[in-house]
Symmetry: C2
Subunit: 574 residues, 2 copies
């Protein structure tokens, strides 16, 4: 702070001169002490000066309502919400999230540093604090076919960027633990910063070796016992409640039951769709749900504010205290926890203000590169033996690798896999570099009948993924997404039912969230009507089926990947 400014602000803090803007009669949440107390909050220049008895040049009378520091989403991917970053931020900010720790992992997998630059540019003028973690696993693993390889060398230039906080989620645990040179170059480059983890289900010794490499957070934890193991290893647990993965109930129930010290926990959404944010909220939902489960509201609020700020070294965020940024959430009461108003740097965030969508580099709208795709690429010969099947799990993105008899039929003298109500076909088509790679597998529990569902959002390489019960509809879906340069599509009996184009890197729409929501509002119920269980979101769940770091079995352009064995098989009958 300039000394001239300090002198003025010091006088305001002391009440010698009137502070610019005072929030009168607030029930202030002090996150350092975890308590509510009545007071006036003095601010100037978007900064908090003090809490006490103040009269301001301008005053906002809160009439006893509850004033909390703005909430922090400690880990999320903006791209997976389908809309442009500015729109998502504005929607989530209206729910009280004023700080976003973003991993532009999806953009980087498609467009490399151009994708990271896109996220940085698009979040420059939003009414929130957006920090970026440098994606660590691009591509995610050695079995991925993505658009770009992000090395430590390419990352170096970003070290000086004021909004680059550290290294993004390190998913390739075996590269870490086994001491891969390229992985450790990245870990060392960010040696003085936060290095985010992604460590589901590591064995105890492996988890220790992973923490030993300097990784200090994880958001992949799905149960209380494992969360505690992570905390004991010095890993901060970012409790995730997103669209696909919902871990809050399991972890918070354990915390409440055991009276656990909550200092090792924060909240995140990871991936949450915009229509869900509008419906149920953002980090305010995590807080509310945790309180419903019996967590004291003060502890939930500390997780949502100062604990996340400290975890990421953001000294000016997460508290209502002198020198902190004037980011506030106004709550009606401590039972309903409804967000009434939100302020960023002392300025109120308006509800549903029209967002101007910033144009992007045109190259980022030309990223689906598939020369010669044919329906015959989807054929799956049946050698009359058991197949590895991807068994879905309701409410989870994990899958189970089951080996079973699967249905077949004879076509033109050839025995081929035949979908039925239990088993359907799943395929991934490489879309970055015209390689022609297509992987075909079998999925159980997905349930689609009489058509196909396809997406260019498929973590983390974002190739085209498609599930269907007949090759014709599947091929039509793929062709549709080549044509729209990415998107979601639903095909029913030889007809395109609806398509949501996602032309920005094949990940995001630039048509505005209203259009996105309107389209999804038609597509999602239809997908469920076509047989996809209501226990999961059709497109989001689909998008994780190609992610080779999540147990137990995945589909990639190279074939079926058995995660535990780190083994690729050409087809499910191998």
């Amino acid at each position: 702070m300039e000394l001239q400014s300090y002198r003025k602000y010091s006088q305001m803090a002391q009440g010698i001169i009137k502070p610019e803007l005072v929030f009168k009669n607030a029930n202030v949440f002090f996150s350092h002490t975890g308590e509510f107390r009545k007071g006036d909050v003095a601010t100037a220049g978007g900064m908090i000066l003090g809490v006490g008895n103040y009269e301001g040049e301008q005053e906002i009378d809160l009439e006893g309502r509850y004033l909390c520091p703005g909430f922090i989403d400690s880990h999320l991917h903006l791209e997976s919400t389908l809309v442009t970053p500015g729109e998502l931020i504005r929607q989530a900010a209206q729910c009280g999230t004023t700080t976003f720790i973003v991993d532009p992992h999806e953009s980087a997998n498609v467009s490399g540093t151009d994708g990271i630059d896109y996220i940085l540019e698009q979040t420059e003028e939003v009414p929130a604090n957006v920090y970026v973690m440098m994606p660590s696993c691009v591509p995610s693993t050695h079995v991925d076919d993505n658009g770009c390889t992000l090395t430590a060398g390419k990352m170096k230039a970003y070290l000086k960027h004021p909004r680059i906080l550290g290294l993004g989620e390190v998913m390739d645990a075996s590269a870490v633990i086994n001491g891969s040179v390229s992985m450790h170059e990245k870990l060392n480059l960010f040696g003085e910063r936060v290095r985010d983890g992604h460590a589901p289900f590591l064995a105890p010794g492996e988890l220790s070796a992973y923490a030993l490499a300097g990784i200090s957070t994880d958001h992949e934890c799905v149960d209380y016992e494992y969360a505690m193991e992570e905390c004991r290893n010095g890993i901060q647990v970012l409790i995730r409640e997103g669209s696909a993965a919902r871990n809050l109930d399991a972890i918070v129930k354990g915390i409440v039951e055991h009276g656990t010290d909550t200092s090792g926990f924060c909240f995140c959404t990871d991936d949450k769709h915009i229509e869900e944010i509008r419906k149920s909220g953002h980090i305010n939902y995590n807080v509310k749900r945790a309180v419903e489960l019996g967590l004291p509201v003060e502890k939930a609020l500390k997780m949502a504010t100062i604990q996340a700020a400290r975890c990421y070294g953001l000294k000016h965020l997460g508290a209502i205290a002198p020198g902190y940024q004037a980011d506030f959430v106004v709550l009606d009461n401590l039972e309903d926890l409804n967000v009434l108003e939100v302020y960023h740097k002392g300025i109120r965030i308006q509800k549903d203000e029209k967002t101007e969508i910033k144009a992007c580099n045109p190259q980022l709208k030309n990223t689906v590169h598939i020369h010669s795709f044919k329906e015959s690429h989807l054929k799956l010969k049946h050698p009359m033996k058991k197949a590895h099947v991807i068994q879905m799990q309701e409410g989870q993105i994990t899958t189970v690798d089951v080996t079973e008899e699967v249905p077949w039929k004879e076509t033109a003298g050839e025995k081929v896999f035949a979908a039925d109500k239990d088993y359907q076909k799943i395929a991934v088509i490489e879309r970055h570099k015209h390689t022609g790679k297509v992987g075909v597998g079998i999925v159980k529990g997905f349930g689609i009948r009489g058509g196909a569902i396809a997406s260019s959002v498929s973590h983390d390489s974002h190739n085209i993924i498609v599930v269907g019960d007949n090759d014709r509809d599947m091929a039509m879906a793929v062709r549709e997404l080549i044509c729209t340069q990415g998107g979601y599509t639903l095909v029913e009996n030889g007809q395109i039912y609806e398509t949501l184009p996602l032309p920005v890197m094949g990940l995001m729409s630039d048509a505005g969230y209203e259009k996105v929501n309107e389209t999804l509002a038609k597509m999602i119920p239809k997908a469920h009507e076509m047989g996809i269980p209501r226990g999961f979101d059709p497109f989001i769940t689909l998008s994780f089926m190609a992610l080779p770091v999540i147990p137990e079995i995945r589909i990639t352009p190279r074939g079926i990947y058995l995660v535990k064995e780190d083994r690729m098989i050409r087809n499910p009958f191998s």
Copy 2:
């Protein structure tokens, strides 16, 4: 960490190869979760690799004893313990303190950067982690006469030193709040680091303005209510329990009574004499006392370990988890909390190992510069009106400014102040630059009869301070300390009873702590016999009487200083 080393340690953490040293069958304190659990702690190269079931190349069987991270003293001055830094560290380390956040404020006041270099050099090879905060107030205030002025310019060279953590206790609150240029240059120089506070009794608005300047700790807090005010302002409270100032009971009782969130607290000693460390312990005493007062042991241990480490950004300290330094305290049980063994980087600290005293720059042993001191300089004319009197407060270093009639006598036709059982004379003689300045005042409640007590340790300028009931003995005491180049001395009826020479900057002995203790064991009881109340340590309390930042009234070489009014008066009758 080198990749080669990581690969080896990773295998050890996973139990693939045997860790170098395993602490078997420990009851491990996990400071991240605040819980004890049984396990083996694997270490190598002085670093913790993991906690679980391990077999080691070497093993130490703890047979169920309690293994905690080494304790952290979050704020102390090494010089005030009277012995050389290495000796003090070794003594305190035997009590379980393995990390010391040191402010070499005393050395800097006498010898400037040479004094800081002395502390850095002397702590290079000790069995503990010693970090240094750059003294911020040298001299302490504009009314001080010390040996050196430490500007931001002189500090700059130290920013790169790996053991310089931040800016030391900022005592001159008014310089901060009023926006003094030189103070803010120092605050800005350490803008990205920890800036320690020293903020007793600031009014609410002042405290906010002080926190607004970026100050984030304070160890001067004497009661619970003020501690909470500091916490709410984002200031971490370092609960002090030293030789002179003991604030732990007051603050911890409040915490226990109110069930307060303890995340905003750490422990420190500030100033603790070596014989007291040997008798009652160091930070282990703070822990033990807090538990006696009803604080759960897990919370006390977090204050003594991870909370202090986090407060100072020491990511490798304060926990038993992978990647943390192997600094351990072994406790017998959770009731008695006796320290059985201490380890630093996996190596056991031996009890009472002979410490080799490192030689120092000879210039540092020639720092008492007084040309022409005469007994007549101590004369105090009595103008037959009321005088400002320094009223002592038992158990505190604060004083009360009382204005009273004081006794007098007539000598050679002149009315002069005459000491009696209630009132004695106190004087400070400038000793750095031959300025000849002598301040004389009146003290009540010090109680010395039939002699004088003097010291060259007098915070923060470390001029010669003397209290007595007659000028002859006072002058003799001052002359003795000029002769020994600093020390403590006690004069009784015209005879030097005993002197403890402190030739290193007039602050420390290089004769070894045994000699220091032996001498103090004679001098302190004698001082009490001579009338100094048993409620305070004669020399330590004396050493604070010249410190112009502590309320309400002080004595300096320029005269009497009224702290609240920031006003110097030439003599107590002014």
